[in-house]
C-alpha cells in the first residue's frame, strides 16, 4: 500500500470528521430549549435575569456561536471535549467510562453473529430452494422482523423468571473488575443484538455465495478434483467475501454508535445512554463529543473495511504492469 494512498485516506477522514463537527454544532444550537433551564429544572423559574446571565457567562453560552465553536474545536484539538454542564464531569471521562461498555458489547455481538450468519448463509445457499434454504430463510426473516426492544424485554423477563436475574439490581461490573462477572452481564445483551445481526449477515452471505457459486471458476475448481469443502470455502466463500465484509463493517459501525435500546433495557452504562442523557439535558458538550466519536468510529471502520478489501481482492491493490 502506498504512502500516498494512506495520506489521502487520512486527509479524507479528517475532512469528514470536521464536517460532522460543524453539522452537530449547528444542529444542537438550532434545537429549541435552553441549557440552563434543562439543568436547573423547576428552579430555573426562580432565577433573576442577572443570575441567568451570570450562569450563561459562566458556561460560555453568552459568546457568539462562532466563538463557542472555536473554543470547543480548539479544546478538541488538545483532546479536551469540554465539561458536562449537567454534572460538571469532563466529557472525556464520561466517554472513557462508556466507550469500553459499548465496544465490548459490539465486539461480543459480532463474534457471536458473524460466524452463525456466514455458516447459515452458506447452508441456505448450498441448495437454493430446498427445505434447508426455506427454513434458514424463514428463521432469518423472523430475526430481522423482531424489533430489538421486544427481543430485549422478553429476554430480560425470561431471565428474571427463570434465573431470578435482574439487570438493574446489580451495578455494572467492568472487564477489569471481574471477567466472569462482566461476561454474565454482557452475554445476554450481546445475544439480543446478535439476533438481528446474524440474520442480516446470513442474508448477505446467502446471496453473495449463490452468485459466486455460479461462476465458471467454481466449475474449474471442481474439475481439478478439489474436495467440496475446499471448493466451498477457498473458492466460493472467498469470492463472496466483499459483500459480506461490507455488511459486517456497516453493522459494526452502527453498533459502535451505541446500542441504546439494549443498553437501556439491560441497564448498561454505554455510549447510547450517555448520548440520550446528553440530549435530554441539552448538555452540548456530551452530545458533541459522543456524536463526533461515533462518526470517527464509522470512518475508522470504513477504512478498515477498505483495507480488508485489499487483502481479499488483488484487483483492488496496486496498479503496475501485466506479467
Amino acid at each position: 500500500m502506498s504512502l500516498r494512498y494512506l495520506a489521502g485516506r487520512v486527509a479524507g477522514m479528517a475532512g469528514t470528521l470536521l464536517g460532522v463537527a460543524v453539522v452537530v454544532f449547528v444542529v444542537l444550537r438550532a434545537l429549541p430549549g435552553d441549557t440552563i433551564t434543562a439543568k436547573l429544572g423547576t428552579q430555573a423559574a426562580t432565577l433573576t435575569a442577572e443570575q441567568r446571565a451570570a450562569l450563561r457567562h459562566f458556561y460560555g453560552l453568552d459568546a457568539s456561536p462562532v466563538t463557542q465553536f472555536f473554543r470547543w474545536f480548539g479544546g478538541l484539538l488538545r483532546g479536551d471535549l469540554g465539561v458536562s454542564i449537567d454534572t460538571g464531569v469532563p466529557v472525556t471521562h464520561l466517554i472513557g467510562d462508556a466507550l469500553p461498555v459499548t465496544v465490548e458489547l459490539a465486539v461480543l455481538a459480532m463474534v457471536i453473529a458473524v460466524p452463525i450468519g456466514v455458516l447459515f448463509g452458506m447452508l441456505a445457499a448450498s441448495r437454493p430452494g430446498g427445505a434447508r434454504d426455506f427454513s434458514v430463510q424463514g428463521v432469518g426473516l423472523l430475526g430481522l422482523a423482531l424489533p430489538e426492544f421486544v427481543v430485549a424485554t422478553v429476554t430480560v423477563a425470561w431471565l428474571a423468571s427463570a434465573f431470578a436475574y435482574s439487570p438493574s439490581a446489580g451495578t455494572y461490573v467492568s472487564l477489569g473488575d471481574s471477567f466472569s462477572g462482566n461476561l454474565r452481564q454482557m452475554l445476554y445483551p450481546a445475544l439480543v443484538l446478535a439476533v438481528g445481526l446474524a440474520a442480516t449477515v446470513m442474508r448477505t452471505t446467502r446471496s453473495a455465495y449463490l452468485e459466486a457459486a455460479g461462476s465458471d471458476f467454481v466449475r474449474t475448481a471442481r474439475g481439478k478434483g478439489l474436495t467440496e469443502a475446499r471448493v466451498r470455502f477457498r473458492h466460493i466463500l472467498h469470492n463472496a467475501g466483499i459483500p459480506i465484509v461490507t455488511m459486517v463493517g456497516i453493522q459494526f459501525g452502527y453498533l459502535l454508535g451505541g446500542t441504546l435500546i439494549v443498553e437501556q433495557v439491560f441497564a448498561l452504562p454505554g455510549l447510547g445512554r450517555l448520548l440520550l442523557d446528553g440530549i435530554l439535558h441539552q448538555d452540548y458538550a456530551i452530545v458533541q463529543g459522543v456524536t463526533l466519536l461515533v462518526a470517527a468510529a464509522f470512518v475508522v471502520v470504513n477504512f478498515a473495511v477498505d483495507l480488508v478489501y485489499r487483502l481479499l481482492d488483488p484487483r483492488t491493490r496496486s496498479e503496475g504492469r501485466r506479467a
Partner: protein, 328 residues
C-alpha cells in the same frame, strides 16, 4: 486401444414437467493420441455429454443410463470420493472462457498447485510441478506467471494457464469445451497448435466440443455430429467433409462460408428450429427440417448404420438424396 469409451449414455435434467432427456444414448470412443470433435448446435447435448464424463452435471441433472469407461474402469460405478480423484487425475477439462475460468482472487500458481495437492502431491513437489506445467504450455518466466493473479494476464496467457492446470496431473483424457471460441483468431491458432502438440507429447485422448466445423477440420481425427441428444453421424474428419452421410452433417457443411465463393448470395441455412426436447417426435428428430426426408422417416427413429466410413443415424443413403449437399 480406446482410452475413453462412452457406451449408450443417457442423461436427463429435472424440470417442472418431469425429467427431460438431454442425452439419449450416445456411444463414442477415443483412442490415446486421438482427437475427436463433438459438434452440434446449442442444446444438442454435447456439453452435457462432456460434463457427464467429468461427473460435474449441474444440480437437477443426472446420468440415467450407460457406461463411461476410462482405461476400462467405469466412472459411473465409482463412489463420490473416488470419482473426485479421477477429476483432474485421469480426466481433465479446459473451458470456453479463460477470462472467467480462473479464480480472480488466487495466484495462478496457487490454482495449479492446489489441483496437484488435492491428488496427494506434497507442497514442494507441487510447486516444482506447477512451474514445469507453466513452462510446458509455452509461457515465459514461469516463476513470474505463477505469482501473478489472472487479471494481470491476457486471454491467451490465461487459456495457457488453464491448459497447464488441466494437464499438470498427466490425465489420460482431456475434454476441451470450445476453448478457442472466446479468443482472437491468431491466439486461437496458437492454442490449437499447443493442444495438438501436448496431445502428441502425452498421448492424450481429446474430446473437442465445438460448433465450429473449421476448428474440427483443423484438429480432429474423427467427428461426431450431435443432434437432439443423439449422434447423427460419426466419421473420420476427412470422410465427413468429403461425403457426409447424414443430411444434417451435409446441411452444416453447406452453411460454412467459404472464402473462395464467387457468388455472394445469402448463406444457406437450415430451416426450422431444433426439436423441443419435451415433445420429441416418434421418428427421426431431424425429419421436420430435412431436405432428404422420405415418407418413412417420421414413423420411427433411425438407429446408426455403417455406411461408407461413417456411422449414420439416417434411413436415406446418399445415393437417394435429391438435392445433394443442400438442405432446407
Amino acid at each position: 486401444m480406446s482410452v475413453l469409451e462412452i457406451v449408450d449414455l443417457h442423461a436427463v435434467v429435472a424440470t417442472d414437467g418431469g425429467e427431460l432427456p438431454v442425452v439419449r444414448g450416445i456411444s463414442l470412443s477415443i483412442d490415446a493420441g486421438e482427437i475427436v470433435g463433438l459438434v452440434g448446435e446449442s442444446g444438442s447435448g454435447k456439453s452435457f455429454t462432456a460434463l457427464s464424463v467429468l461427473g460435474l452435471l449441474p444440480d437437477g441433472a443426472r446420468v440415467s443410463g450407460g457406461r463411461i469407461l476410462v482405461d476400462g474402469e467405469d466412472l459411473l460405478s465409482l463412489r463420490a470420493a473416488e470419482r473426485r480423484t479421477r477429476r483432474g487425475g485421469t480426466v481433465a477439462m479446459i473451458y470456453q472462457d479463460p477470462m472467467t475460468a480462473l479464480n480472480p482472487l488466487m495466484t495462478v500458481g496457487a490454482q495449479i498447485a492446489e489441483g496437484l495437492r488435492a491428488h496427494g502431491v506434497d507442497g514442494a513437489e507441487a510447486k516444482k510441478r506447477t512451474l514445469a506445467a507453466i513452462e510446458e504450455v509455452g509461457l515465459p518466466r514461469p516463476e513470474r506467471i505463477a505469482r501473478s493473479y489472472p487479471h494481470r494476464l491476457s486471454g491467451g496467457q490465461r487459456q495457457r494457464v488453464v491448459i497447464a492446470s488441466a494437464l499438470a496431473l498427466r490425465p489420460k483424457v482431456l475434454i476441451a469445451d470450445e476453448p478457442t471460441t472466446a479468443l482472437d483468431v491468431t491466439i486461437q491458432q496458437q492454442i490449437l497448435a499447443l493442444v495438438d502438440e501436448l496431445r502428441v507429447a502425452h498421448d492424450l485422448a481429446v474430446l473437442w466440443i465445438t460448433h465450429d466445423l473449421g476448428v474440427v477440420a483443423r484438429i480432429a481425427n474423427r467427428v461426431a455430429v450431435m443432434y437432439a441428444g443423439r449422434i447423427a453421424e460419426a466419421a473420420p474428419t476427412r470422410s465427413l467433409f468429403a461425403a457426409p452421410q447424414h443430411p444434417y452433417s451435409a446441411a452444416l457443411l453447406a452453411s460454412i462460408p467459404s472464402p473462395t465463393d464467387t457468388v455472394r448470395g445469402p448463406l444457406p441455412q437450415i430451416g426450422g428450429a431444433p426439436p423441443d426436447l419435451t415433445a420429441l417426435p416418434p421418428g427421426c428428430p431431424f425429419e421436420p427440417r430435412c431436405a432428404q426426408r422420405e415418407p418413412g422417416c417420421a414413423a420411427t427413429e433411425p438407429d446408426p448404420v455403417h455406411r461408407g466410413d461413417a456411422d449414420t443415424a439416417c434411413f436415406v443413403p446418399r445415393e437417394r438424396w435429391t438435392t445433394a449437399e443442400e438442405a432446407g
